[in-house]
């Protein structure tokens, strides 16, 4: 979005209060959504709950293509369509809802840096596992991603997506990495960032979205979840946010990818 358009959007946004019928769009929960999209969607939902803004979740098979940036989730608020956590945070701020107002400049800069880190590390690692690990890609990602489409479009779209992600991975130098290396990167990140969460901010929403999704999603390898589970501070962080904002029921509905046995361990 150009600067002028962004300014215009935020001005428009400020004029209207948050409506009751705001809707968040994501891919189909049962059959389609993938780990990374699920994590991003949960992060946005957590953030909006932290702000106390009501939002309905709608599942659409074409959510990815409906989104103006091509990424899920996106929210439809009044006449506005805003996608991804960063712009949504900006958007709510323009409407007068912000979680990071209490932070000073240094803390805010640090928070932004950590959010970038999460996106660069956790999200990239999730994408790597989904599309670059052959077992996961062929058993989970491709069949789920293409489930709404009929033959032969399902194969075309799934391979097109995989090729696109792999090209991106090669461009940032992740192409040659092994699954184990990726897991190590993630857990290294997890330890370093674990001390940051004193008060709820968008960073907490983002980290919670990713960690919770990783912990509760069945993948071909459980190595990643095991690594995160070995950090008790991360587990208690996840449990705390879940209890404060989701009161058990919503999440078990919104995340169908559960391994139920994991819940008590949280």
């Amino acid at each position: 979005m150009s600067l002028a358009a962004e300014a215009f959007v935020s001005q428009m946004a400020a004029a209207e209060p948050w409506p009751e019928n705001a809707t968040l769009y994501q891919p189909l929960k049962e059959d389609q959504i993938l780990l990374s999209d699920c994590a991003s969607s949960l992060a946005v939902q957590t953030y909006l709950r932290m702000c106390g803004l009501p939002v309905q979740v709608a599942c659409r098979a074409n959510a990815e293509y409906m989104s103006p940036s091509g990424k899920v989730p996106f929210v439809h608020v009044g006449n506005q369509v805003v996608s991804e956590l960063g712009p949504i945070v900006q958007f709510t701020k323009a409407k007068g809802h912000s979680l990071s107002d209490g932070l000073d400049d240094v803390q805010r800069a640090e928070m932004k840096a950590y959010m970038e880190l999460v996106n660069n590390m956790l999200l990239t690692a999730e994408l790597y596992i989904q599309w670059c690990d052959d077992a996961t890609a062929s058993e989970i990602s491709r069949p789920r991603y293409s489930s709404p489409y009929s033959w032969p479009l399902n194969h075309i779209l799934a391979y097109q997506k995989q090729w696109e992600v792999r090209r991106k991975m090669n461009a940032i130098g992740w192409g040659g990495k092994t699954l184990e290396q990726v897991c190590r990167i993630r857990s290294a990140f997890a330890t370093s960032s674990a001390q940051f969460f004193f008060q709820p901010t968008e960073l907490d929403a983002l980290v919670f979205g990713h960690l919770f999704t990783i912990l509760t999603t069945r993948l071909t390898s459980t190595e990643l979840a095991e690594r995160i589970k070995s950090y008790s501070n991360l587990l208690s962080f996840c449990r705390r946010i879940e209890q404060s904002y989701f009161e058990d029921k919503i999440l078990s509905v919104s995340l169908s990818l559960f391994i139920p046995s994991l819940i008590p361990s949280l």
Binding site: A5, R60, A61, N62, E64, P68, V81, S150, L153, I156
Partner: protein, 470 residues
Amino acid sequence: MGSVHAKSLDPLPMHGRDLGVNPDDVIEAPEPEHEAKQEILENKDVVVQHVNIQGLGRTKEDLLGYEISEVFLAKNLIDVMKKAHLARQKLLRLGIFKDVEVLIDTSEGADALPNGLDVTFEVTEVKRLTGSYNTMVGNNEGSMVLGLKLPNMFGRAEKLTFQFSYGTKETSYGLSFFKPQPGHFERNLTLNMYKVTGQFPWSSLKETDRGMSAELNFPLGITNHTLKWEGVWRELGCLARSASFAVREESGHSLKSALSHTVSVDSRNSAIFPSRGALLRVNQELAGYTGGDASFLKEDFELQMNRRLFWDSVLSASLWGGMLYPLGGQPSCIADRFYLGGPTSVRGFGMYSIGPQSEGDYLGGEAYWAGGLHLYTPLPFRPGKGGFGDLFRTHFFLNAGNLCNLNYGDGPRAHLQKLAECIRWSYGAGIVLRLGNIARLELNYCVPMGVQSGDRICDGVQFGAGIRFL
């Protein structure tokens, strides 16, 4: 005797270029100056002994056998000339010869009969590969179009065409293979593969289609039939960020596999400015039966009748209608629905700007009808009569139509009622210019009436071009 007469006919002109291939041309009686001799020749029995074709390269002879076999049936000289001329036109129609010349001579050799004739077709084949290059500007986009054609690829009038368009915004291409049945050129098979991108600003919609189709054309009595299967992968997207949410909801990929059948009867004497005759075209399409995501049944028809009145003026009436019936409980897609309005359909309204809309984006409808009544007259005072002026007509028109969505549970009476309420109509006058025999340009002064809220109108002067018009 025969040889003497025949010799005098030796330089008989059947020169290709002079005669042309226009089917409107009447076959002229050859050689009026030989009238005195024709009396004798017309009644004189002749036998066509040999028909030779010279100049063949890659063309297979069995294909031409069907086209020239009629010549053998000729019983007298005039007949020979007429049949040879027809055969020549049939050969040129195949599109594989640049030029065909006919020579008629007395038979020579051991088995020559005294009244035997030899007919020789001297043909020049078209090149193996022809190319074209165009630049096009329009729709806020410039593009470069490269075309390649391989006529007569396997020697039996097959044609392979490739077109590639490279634009500042979009790239499109199409590959098409055409194969006629030998001896029945009108019965043919076409295979297509393509990628095309279209931008529809009236709906804020962008569509990219990648697909293939197979098409069978054949005449049956006076009707022409087309059977077609098409498999197309469609990608819809918003043209701008400001597109309405109703259009945004339609974004994404879908696969359409459709069988369609078109039947048409056309007795008009011209496709653009007919002065008599009628056209009826009925098209039906069934999607989803052969796979894919889209499933619907679509019917539409087009009827046009023309009648010549006084002073070369023509009264023309047309009626269009169509209905889309979604199958399998899923709603219809924005790309399949009908659109109405614009300078060549219901004049006086904006391009496809009638009917259901959301935030200024027109969503199309599942049923429509439109009718038009035109009075075409030559230009006032007929400047350029018999030449340039004949490319123009003035016309007075009355158009009407409606586009809406039907509630299919309600029954036919409710449907008719729905289609009969909120009718948009318009009247006006203007000038029409014929472009070749396929398209026309119109400059009209229109007065739109029956405008409903949400319709975009064009009150006053409206300019438009089109190949299909009401």
